[in-house]
C-alpha cells in the first residue's frame, strides 16, 4: 500500500514537472537574472513590469476562453486595431463615456460576428477557425485603415474631455495603477464566470468533448458564441488600455497581439486541445512572458532575438502539450 502511495507521489511529481516544465525554466531565468543583474529588482523596473501587464493580459484572458472551448481566435489583432482607432475618434464626437461603451460594443460585435461565420459554416475544427478568424482579422484591420485613413490619432488632437482615458492610461490610486486595478476586477469577474457559472462549465465541457457535451444537452453553439464574443470584448478592453497608455492610436496598433496572447495561454498551461485551463494560469503565462522579456532586455538581448525566443517557446509549449495527452 505504501509502495503504491510512494509510486503515486513520484508520478505526481513527474506530472508536475511535465506540466510546469516551462514555468520552471522561466523561473530559473528570472532567478538567474535577479542574481546577476541587480537592476531587475529595482523599484523602477518593477513598476515598469506592472505597466506592461495591461493590454496583453486583457487579450490573453479573452483568448483563454476561446482555447478552453476548443477553438482559436487570430482576429484579436484586427479587433484591437479597429476598436482603438474608432474609440479614440469617438471621444471627439460623442464624448468619452459613450465612446468607451461604443468601443467595447464594437469589440464584442466583432467577436460575435466571428462566431456567426464559424457556426454558419459548420466548422468544427480549430484549423478552420484559425483560417476564418485570420481572414476576419484582415477585414477588421482594413476597416480600421479605412476609418482612420491610415493615420495615427493622438490624444492632443482631441479638445473634449478625455480624463477617463487618461486615468486608464496613467492614473494611480496610491502606488497602484488604475489599469492594474481594472485588470484585477476583470480577472475576478472572469474567474467567477469560469468557475461558478453554468456557462463557464458549458464552455469547458464543449472544449473537452463537443460530441459528449452535445449529447447531454449542453448548448455548444451558444458556448461558441459566448467565447468569441467574450474574446472580442476583451480585445476591445485591451485596445482601450493600450491606446490610453500610449495616448495614440494607429490602425496597426494590435499587430502581434494574437500570437502573444496564444503564447501566454499555452505557456500558462491551458491545453490547446480544449477543456482544461484557467484564467489564473493565463495570468501566470503572461507574467512569465513579461518577466522573460524583461530579463532578456536587462541582459541586453535584442528585441528580435526575443521574438525568436517567443516562437521557440510557443513551438516547445505546443509540443509539450501534445506529449501530455
Amino acid at each position: 500500500m505504501s509502495g503504491i502511495a510512494k509510486e503515486g507521489t513520484l508520478r505526481s511529481v513527474a506530472d508536475f514537472m511535465r506540466s510546469y516544465l516551462l514555468v520552471v525554466l522561466i523561473a530559473a531565468l528570472v532567478i538567474g537574472t535577479a542574481i546577476f543583474e541587480p537592476r531587475f529588482l529595482s523599484g523602477m523596473n518593477l513598476i515598469n513590469l506592472m505597466r506592461q501587464f495591461g493590454p496583453l493580459i486583457m487579450v490573453a484572458l479573452g483568448m483563454t476562453f476561446v482555447i478552453m472551448g476548443g477553438f482559436i481566435d487570430l482576429s484579436v489583432a484586427g479587433i484591437i486595431n479597429l476598436v482603438a482607432v474608432v474609440t479614440i475618434s469617438l471621444i471627439q464626437i460623442v464624448g468619452q463615456v459613450p465612446a468607451l461603451i461604443l468601443g467595447l460594443a464594437i469589440g464584442a460585435a466583432c467577436g460575435a460576428l466571428n462566431s456567426a461565420v464559424i457556426l454558419s459554416s459548420g466548422a468544427l475544427t480549430q484549423a478552420e477557425a484559425l483560417f476564418m478568424t485570420f481572414g476576419m482579422s484582415t477585414v477588421y484591420s482594413a476597416l480600421a485603415l479605412l476609418y482612420s485613413h491610415g493615420s495615427t490619432m493622438h490624444f492632443w488632437d482631441i479638445n473634449k474631455s478625455k480624463s477617463l482615458f487618461q486615468a486608464i492610461g496613467a492614473g494611480k490610486v496610491g502606488p497602484v495603477s488604475i489599469s492594474f486595478l481594472i485588470f484585477l476586477a476583470l480577472l475576478a469577474l472572469l474567474w467567477l464566470f469560469q468557475t461558478k457559472t453554468t456557462e463557464g462549465r458549458a464552455i469547458r465541457l464543449t472544449g473537452g468533448n463537443k460530441i459528449a457535451a452535445e449529447l447531454v444537452g449542453i448548448r455548444i453553439r451558444r458556448s461558441i458564441v459566448v467565447i468569441y464574443t467574450l474574446c472580442g470584448l476583451m480585445a476591445g478592453v485591451g485596445a482601450i488600455v493600450l491606446f490610453s497608455r500610449i495616448t495614440t492610436a494607429a490602425p496597426v496598433i494590435g499587430a502581434g497581439f494574437e500570437t502573444n496572447a496564444i503564447l501566454a495561454v499555452v505557456v500558462g498551461g491551458t491545453t490547446l486541445k480544449g477543456g482544461n485551463g484557467s484564467v489564473l494560469r493565463t495570468v501566470m503565462g503572461v507574467l512569465l512572458i513579461i518577466l522573460m522579456s524583461n530579463c532578456l532586455n536587462l541582459l541586453g538581448v535584442s528585441p528580435y532575438l526575443q521574438v525568436v525566443a517567443k516562437g521557440a517557446i510557443l513551438v516547445f509549449a505546443i509540443w509539450l502539450d501534445n506529449r501530455k495527452q
Binding site: T195, K196, T197, T198, E199, G200, R201, A202, R204, L205, G208, N209, I211, A212, A213, E214, L215, V216, G217, I218, R219, G275, N276
Partner: protein, 500 residues
C-alpha cells in the same frame, strides 16, 4: 477434426489465444482450411471471428498458439507481409482510399512496380476483367457502390497472387443480385485453386457455397464439419446455445401501458421505422452491426437529423430537434462509443457525472458547488464505482466503472426513457451483472429502457420484448421469454422463412 495431411492445408491455426483487457477474445482456437476450399466461419457478434481474422492478417498479434500458412510458420507478421505472402483480407469496412481511382487503389503503394499510372490502370483492367467486372478503372472509389468496391478489393487481393482470401461479412450490404454476382466469383476463384475463408451471419450463403463450416462462440471454435453434415437449426443452436441462466437477473415484472410512441423515422439508412415503448419495460433491439439500431435511437434522441419523424410521449407529440429537447422530454442516452461520445476523459469523475444535471445544482446561471459535490459522491456510492476519489480523471477508471459514471450521470435527472447503446461493451463479467441490476432497477422504478446490444444472450435475457432490425427496417417483434432463439435470430438476419 479433419484428417487431411498438412500439405493439403493452406492454413492451419492451432490453439491461438488472444486476451484484451478484461476480455478473453480467443481461447485456444484451432481451425484448418484445405487448399482450394471455401471455408465458412459463422458466429454471433463478439464470437471472436473478427479478432481471429485480424490476427491472421497481422493487425493484432496473438498471445499464444501457432499459425502455419502454406507450410510456413507465421510469427509477428504485418498486414503488408501477409499480403505479400499471399493472404489477403477483405474487411467489412473496406480498405480503400475513397479519394483515389480504382486502378490506383488496386496497386496502392506499388506505383513504381506497376510502371506508373498507365501500367496500373492496364493491369487493373486485366484483373477486373478476370472477375467480369466492367467498372472503369479511372473512376473514383467514392463514386462506386458497395458491391463494386468489393470487386475492387477482390481484384486487389488477386493482384498479390493471393492463395487465401478472407472475406469478412462481405454480404452485409449487398442486394440479392449483387450477392449472386459475388457467389459466381467465389466459385470461380475456387476453381482457380484459391482458398477462401468466408465469414458471415447469413446461413443461406454458407449453405450455398461453403465446403466446410466452423461455428464460433465466445472466443471458441465450437465445431468444424463439412457443410453437408450440418442442418440449419443445428448451426443456429451451436451459434447461440448455452446455459446462461445465472448471468442475468430476472426480467422486470410489471410492464404498464404505452409510454412512448415513435412514428415513421426515415433517414438515409432507415426506412419508415415505427415502434412503441411501455412503462417499466426493457425493449431490446436485435440486429447486425450496421443494421440501423444505433441510427434509430440517435434519430429519436435528436442527435441525427431525420425526415418526418415524430415522438409521442403519453399520447402527446413532443418536438425533439436536438439532444437538449430529448433530455427535457425525459430521455437519457448511453452512447455507443463511451470514449468518443460519452466521456470527457481528462475531466474528473465528478464533472463527468454531473454534466447532464447542471440545472439541478445551479440557480440563475450560477453553479452551487455544495450541491454539485454531493452528486459525484452520491452516484459513486450508489453505483459502487471503484475510484480512489471523485476528483481523478475518469480516463483512469476501468471500462465498467466508466460506464457506471455515464449511467449515474443520467440517474441524477431520473429519465423516464433510458436508451442504452451497447452498455456492456468492453466490460468484464462482474461489472456487467451490476449494470444489469441497475437496468432492472430503473425499469422497476417506472422508467423504460431501450437496449441495444451486439451480444444476443444479453438482449434476449434482459428484454421484455425485442424488435429485430435488418437493413434499416423493423422486421419482427418477439417475446424472448417464449420464443425460440433461432426464430429471433432468423428474423434479425433478414430471412424470409422463419425456421419452425
Amino acid at each position: 477434426m479433419s484428417a487431411s495431411s498438412d500439405s493439403e492445408l493452406i492454413i492451419s491455426i492451432r490453439d491461438v489465444s488472444k486476451t484484451f483487457p478484461g476480455v478473453r477474445a480467443l481461447d485456444k482456437v484451432s481451425i484448418d482450411v484445405r487448399k482450394g476450399s471455401v471455408h465458412g466461419i459463422v458466429g454471433e457478434n463478439g464470437a471472436g471471428k473478427s479478432t481471429l481474422m485480424k490476427i491472421l492478417s497481422g493487425v493484432y498479434q496473438k498471445d499464444s498458439g501457432t499459425i502455419v500458412f502454406d507450410g510456413e510458420q507465421i510469427e509477428g507478421t504485418t498486414p503488408q507481409q501477409s499480403m505479400k505472402r499471399g493472404l489477403a483480407i477483405i474487411y467489412q469496412e473496406l480498405n480503400l482510399v475513397s479519394t483515389m481511382s480504382v486502378g490506383e487503389n488496386i496497386f496502392l503503394g506499388r506505383f513504381k512496380e506497376m510502371k506508373g499510372m498507365r501500367g496500373s490502370h492496364a493491369k487493373a483492367r486485366e484483373l477486373l476483367d478476370s472477375i467480369d467486372c466492367k467498372v472503369d478503372t479511372h473512376k473514383l472509389v467514392s463514386q462506386l457502390s458497395v458491391s463494386l468496391k468489393q470487386m475492387v478489393e477482390i481484384a486487389k487481393a488477386l493482384s498479390f497472387k493471393s492463395k487465401l482470401i478472407i472475406m469478412d461479412e462481405p454480404s452485409s450490404s449487398l442486394t440479392a443480385e449483387e450477392m449472386a454476382e459475388l457467389t459466381k466469383i467465389i466459385r470461380q476463384l475456387r476453381e482457380q485453386g484459391i482458398s477462401i475463408i468466408y465469414i458471415s451471419h447469413k446461413l443461406d450463403e454458407i449453405f450455398e457455397f461453403c465446403d466446410t463450416v466452423t461455428v464460433m462462440r465466445d472466443g471458441h471454435a465450437i465445431d468444424t464439419r463439412p457443410t453437408l453434415e450440418f442442418t440449419r437449426n443445428d448451426m443456429i443452436t451451436k451459434m447461440v446455445g448455452r446455459a446462461i441462466e445465472n448471468e442475468y437477473p430476472p426480467r422486470p415484472a410489471k410492464v404498464g401501458g404505452t409510454l412512448m410512441e415513435v412514428r415513421s423515422i426515415t433517414t438515409r439508412k432507415l426506412k419508415d421505422v415505427s415502434f412503441t415503448l411501455r412503462e417499466g419495460e426493457i425493449l431490446g433491439f436485435v440486429g447486425l452491426v450496421g443494421a440501423g439500431r444505433t441510427e434509430i435511437v440517435r434519430a429519436v434522441f435528436g442527435a441525427d437529423k431525420a425526415r418526418g419523424h415524430s415522438v409521442f410521449i403519453g399520447g402527446k407529440r413532443v418536438p425533439i430537434r436536438n439532444p437538449r429537447d430529448a433530455k427535457r422530454a425525459g430521455f437519457g442516452l448511453i452512447p455507443e462509443d463511451r470514449k468518443l461520445q460519452g466521456l470527457i476523459l481528462p475531466f474528473s469523475v465528478e464533472t463527468n457525472i454531473s454534466m447532464a444535471s447542471m440545472d439541478n445544482f445551479s440557480r440563475f446561471g450560477f453553479i452551487r458547488r455544495s450541491l454539485e459535490k454531493g452528486i459525484g459522491e452520491r452516484q459513486v456510492k450508489a453505483l459502487s464505482v471503484k475510484t480512489p476519489s471523485v476528483r481523478v480523471p475518469v480516463g483512469n477508471l476501468s471500462g465498467g466503472n466508466q460506464q457506471k459514471c455515464i449511467v449515474g450521470r443520467w440517474l441524477e435527472i431520473a429519465p423516464k426513457i433510458f436508451i442504452m447503446d451497447e452498455p456492456t461493451k468492453g466490460i468484464d463479467v462482474g461489472a456487467k451483472y451490476e449494470i444489469y441490476l441497475l437496468m432492472k432497477r430503473i425499469a422497476e422504478d417506472g422508467g423504460a429502457i431501450i437496449l441495444i446490444s451486439s451480444e444476443l444472450p444479453e438482449v434476449l435475457n434482459m428484454s421484455n420484448r425485442v424488435l429485430t432490425i435488418f437493413e434499416g427496417r423493423i422486421t419482427g417483434e418477439f417475446d424472448p421469454a417464449v420464443t425460440a432463439v433461432d426464430r429471433i435470430m432468423a428474423s434479425a438476419l433478414g430471412m424470409k422463412e422463419v425456421p419452425a
